[in-house]
Every structure is written in C-alpha cells, then in structure tokens.
C-alpha cells in the first residue's frame, strides 16, 4: 500500500498531456453525477409540490418550494409506520444476535487446536459451496413453527459465512503473544475475548455489524417467503409493493388521492429507506477498507 498516502505522481511518469487530464476530469464528473443524480432526483421529487411533480409527469429535479407533505402523508393509515417499526426491530434484534453469535464462533474457531475446531470449520465452509436451497430452508422454518413469526425475519439468516471467515481471519492476526500473556495472567477464554481481543477488533466488529444491519434493513424476501405478510412486512417489502406492483401509498394510507402525486410518496419512502444507510456509510467508509481487506487476506 505504499502509494496510497501520497499525492505525488511518480517521477518516471512524467507530466500527462493536457488532453488526457481533461478527459479524466470529465470522466470523474460524469461518474460522480451518475451516482448522485438518481439520489438527488428522488429527494427533490419527495419535497416538491404535487403540482410540480404532476406537471413533469412524476419527477422534479428542483423543488419550486419545499413541501414535506409526502413524509407526513405516508404515515397516515398506520401501515407504513408499522412496517418501519418492523424494520427497526428486525434490524436491531437481528444485528445484535448475528454479531454476538458470529463473534463467539469466530473467536472459538480462531484458537489453534480447539477440540473439533477443524471439522466444524470445514463443515461450515462446505455450506458456502453447497448452501441449503430455498425450498429446504422454507421447510425447516415451517417445521420449527417459525413461519409467520417475527423471528423468521432474522433467525434463518443469523450467521453469514463470509462475515464469519473475515472475523476469524482478523482474530488470527492478533499476535499470539497477547493470548499467551493473558493466559499467564490467569485470564480464561471469556476474559481474554472481552479484555484483549474485542478492544483490538473494533474495526472488524464495526464492519461486520454494519454488514449485518444493512442486510436486515434491506431484506424484503424473508417476509415474502417465511410469513403471510400483513403486519410482519418490513419497510422493504411494503416499498416493493409500491415500486414494483405500482400500488399507490396514498391510497393505502386511506387518503383521497386526487391531485396527490403517487411518485412523490414513493420517492419519500425511497428516501426513508436510504437515510439509515447513508447515515451509516461514513462509518463503513472509515473501517471497511482496512478491516475487510486485512481479514480477507489473512484467512
């Protein structure tokens, strides 16, 4: 990673031709715009007036005046507010459960010579190569009487093999001397994990935790597969109904839809679905390159 921190062009490269620099500058602007414009478009549409959105046929790139009615309208009727609550609940409980079980398992499997460690690790890695399919997963969830329970939205996805592998790799990268010192000081496995390993592993815990959180927040499918929908639908699943099936959120909120732009309400929901991820993104940014790459390279 020697060049990463520097701003300097290597001497041998020489000065680039002005034309090359110009093309690159244009490319940079185009790339930034391609990412930013769709986000801006939904945000602008969600806060424009209905008249403006309708006049354009369903979008607005520049709000004539700020109008937040879409954000209050979508919560009328309760369906969407409830779906948002389900999403928050599933994300919070699921992430806590996933993070705890993944950390414990990764730590135990990272210790050399732990009893049955090798075969267990191999058995887990094999599920990466040959995972249980949709129908077998559905059957096991049904047999466990989890069908149509809130737990069906997170328990079947409790541990992700990729997350487990990068976390185990990170733990293995901690110098063996530290473990040795902890053992000589009389620390057991639990104490070593909480006092030595976890404080050194904040980066990887943050990355894996955010991966899980984003995964739960974005998931729409487990509600379709493992529940009858209704009050167990998270925001993603409800949003899917509006975006894909073309349902009108305002109609479902029981509003008189004449004159209200449906795209404005859908845009508001899209913004609501994006905001938590955009908020978590700077933290992800800071940790994921170093945390993930070191973990992935080690394993």
């Amino acid at each position: 990673m020697s060049v990463e921190g520097t701003n300097l062009r290597p001497v041998w490269m020489g000065r680039p031709k002005p034309a090359v620099s110009a093309v690159k500058a244009v490319a940079v602007v185009v790339i930034l715009a391609l990412v930013a414009v769709p986000f801006w478009l939904v945000f602008a549409t969600s806060v424009s007036s209905d008249a403006e959105v309708n006049a354009n046929g369903g979008w607005s790139l520049w709000p004539d005046k700020l109008d937040f009615s879409a954000y209050t309208n979508v919560f009328k009727g309760g369906t969407i507010g409830h779906a948002l609550w389900v999403s928050v609940l599933v994300t919070a409980i699921g992430t806590a459960l996933s993070l705890a079980s993944t950390t414990f398992l990764a730590y135990a499997l990272s210790r050399p010579n732990v009893l049955a460690g090798k075969p267990i690790l191999l058995a887990i890695l094999f599920t990466f190569l040959f995972p249980a399919g949709m129908i077998p997963s559905f059957l096991v969830v049904t047999d466990l009487k989890l069908f149509d329970h809130l737990a069906a939205l997170f328990v079947p996805a409790m541990i992700n093999v990729f997350n487990l592998v990068i976390m185990r790799g990170f733990f293995q990268g901690i110098p063996e001397e530290l473990y040795e010192a902890a053992r000589l000081d009389g620390a057991g496995d639990i104490r070593t994990l909480f006092r030595i390993v976890l404080p050194l592993s904040k980066a990887i815990i943050a990355v894996v935790g955010l991966y899980y959180a984003v995964g739960y927040w974005n998931d729409y499918f487990r509600a379709m597969l493992y529940t009858n929908g209704g009050s167990l639908n998270p925001l993603s699943t409800v949003l899917r109904g509006f975006v894909i099936a073309g349902n009108n959120p305002n109609a479902e909120a029981g509003l008189d839809v004449t004159g209200i732009a449906p795209m404005k309400a859908i845009s508001a929901l899209v913004v609501i679905a994006i905001v938590p991820i955009a908020a978590a993104f700077p933290f992800l940014q800071r940790y994921f390159t170093k945390g993930v790459m070191t973990g992935a390279v080690k394993s």
């Binding site: 354009n56 046929g57 267990i120 949709m134 129908i135 096991v140 328990v155 894909i244 859908i266």
Partner: protein, 310 residues
C-alpha cells in the same frame, strides 16, 4: 502455533475440559448451521416424494424420480435455465471487466482527494437494496421518469417503456448491476493494484513502455491471480444471477422474458405449492453450481493459479 504443538497429544477428555468455554461459545453458531443448513438439506428428500404440506415431509409418498421427469417435461423450466445462462453470459462479458476498468481508472488518478471522493461515491450504491435501486431507475428511466420526459418534451408520450418491453430486460439488468455494484467491485482490484511493485512500472517506463504497454505487460500480469479468483467466484454464481435483482422485475418484464432458475423455484414451489418439483430444480441447481466451482478451481490450479482454495 509452536507453543501448541504438543496439544494434540492430550487425551480427548482433557481437551474437552480445557476447551469447554470455547465449545460453549461455538454452540449457538453450530446449532444454527446444524439446523438451518444441515438439517434443512434433509428437506431435499421431497424431491423424491409427492410432498403435500398437510401430510408433512415424513409421511408424503415416495415417488422415485417421477418429479424429475415432470420437471424435465416442463418447458417453463428449460426456458428459465436458458434465460439464466444467457443472463450469466451477458454479465460475464459486459459486467465483469467494468470494475477492473474502473479500478484502473481510479488508480490512475494522481490527486489523492479526487480519488477518495470518487471512491466514496461509487461504493455507496452497493449498500442500497435492489428494491430501492429499481425504484431509482424507474424514477430516472421509467415511462414517467426524468429521461423520458426530457426526450419527448411531452410527459405523457412514452418512447419505449424500458421496464416492460421484454427486449430491454437484459440491457436494463446489466445497467442496474453496473450502477449498483461496479464501484464496490473495484475494492479487491484496487487492493491488488496497490500491491504491484512500483519498480516494475518504473523499469518499464525507462525502457520506453507507454501507458498501454505498461498496462498489458505489468498491471494485468501482476493482478492475474485476483482476476482468476474473482472469475471462479463468478462461475459459482452463474446459476444464481442476482435473484434479488430479478425478483424486482420478473413480473413487469413478464416471466417469459425474465424467469431464471431461482424465480422459477419461488413461483412454482412456494407460490403455486408445487414444492417437490421446485425442490428438484433447487437441488439440481445446487449440485451443478458446486461442480462448476470445483471444476473452475481445478482448471485454475492446472494453469498454475492459486484459485479459491487448495
């Protein structure tokens, strides 16, 4: 490792006593994989049964390979298989090189703040769900979206609905995939590019190699192991081709254009209740995908590459 070299000599019960806390820590995870992977795999027996939900897996009647023949006689299944491979081929040819090209472009940016800015922008879409990505695309390119009304100057006239016209299915899938994941895909390529020894570039430049020859003779050979590794992983994914993405668009593009193996399993199995037939499709898909990865890995070894595993 050296300190533990003597450990395997310990009797098993002594190791059990020594490791009891670690084993307890493993328990939730082991239970999870045991139940939701290994126990679940037993459910595949319904591929050889006539599964009726009310009767249950155990008591449903054995029918041998009858469900296999039913599946193979279903033209919809073969259609989904064909579609899956076509889509995978489109992605392999037109998506796979994009993150590599973008990574090389990012690497060539000599101003650090510009590179960091672009990198943080292009990573973001990866974390947005497919539901939202399709929502954004409809808002920009859909019949009442921005581009359409700019093109027609009359918002109620639609040139072509690129989210319904079946011939647009593959191009839109590709475009969405590039937008969502090509930035994130650069992460591994970028890490590999940083590892290339700068002295190689310098020596090549001193020998008069221009940008194109440095790319061909230094950059690409240096990161070949990473390219091979990602290709193998891609091969393992061929039969899945982005289930989440297709799920958002199968109905609007019509199943005739957009059905893939996984959506076939969902709609024929879970939605229509033909669990046994869908289980056959899922089981075959899993086995073929596993064979593909093992084969790709073997070939990589033959070519002197590291591959995914040894």
């Amino acid at each position: 490792m050296a300190a533990n070299a003597a450990a395997p000599r310990m009797p098993r019960w002594a190791r059990l006593r020594r490791d009891k806390v670690l084993l307890l820590m493993m328990l939730p995870g082991v239970l999870y994989f045991g139940i939701f992977q290994y126990l679940a795999q037993l459910g595949n027996v319904i591929a050889f049964k006539d599964y009726v939900p009310f009767v249950g897996v155990k008591d449903s009647a054995w029918v041998g390979f009858q469900q296999f023949t039913t599946l193979f006689d279903d033209p919809d299944f073969w259609h989904a298989v064909g579609n899956t491979f076509e889509l995978a081929l489109v992605q392999l040819l037109f998506y796979f090189p994009v993150p590599l090209a973008l990574a090389m472009f990012l690497f060539s940016l000599t101003r650090n703040w510009v590179r960091k800015l672009v990198v943080s922008f292009v990573y973001l879409p990866h974390f947005i769900s497919w539901v939202v990505v399709v929502g954004l695309f409809v808002q920009v390119l859909g019949p009442s979206g921005m581009v359409n009304s700019l093109l027609t100057s009359d918002s109620h006239h639609v040139v072509v609905d690129v989210f319904r016209d079946p011939s647009w299915f593959k191009p839109m899938m590709l475009l969405e995939l590039v937008w969502k994941d090509c930035g994130w895909g650069t992460i591994i390529f970028l890490a590999a590019l940083y590892q290339v020894d700068d002295a190689l570039y310098e020596a090549a430049a001193l020998d008069g190699a221009g940008w194109a020859r440095r790319t061909w003779h230094v950059t690409l050979p240096s990161i070949r192991p990473v390219i091979v590794l990602l290709l193998i992983l891609r091969v393992g994914d061929i039969l899945s081709v982005g289930f989440d993405q297709v799920m958002q668009q199968r109905d609007t593009f019509t199943p005739a254009a957009a059905e893939v193996i996984d959506t076939y399993v969902y709609y024929h199995g879970v939605q229509s209740g033909q669990f046994s037939i869908a289980a056959v499709a899922g089981l075959l898909k899993g086995i073929v995908a596993m064979i593909l990865v093992i084969a790709a890995n073997k070939i990589a070894h033959k070519l002197g590459e590291q591959g995914v595993y040894q």
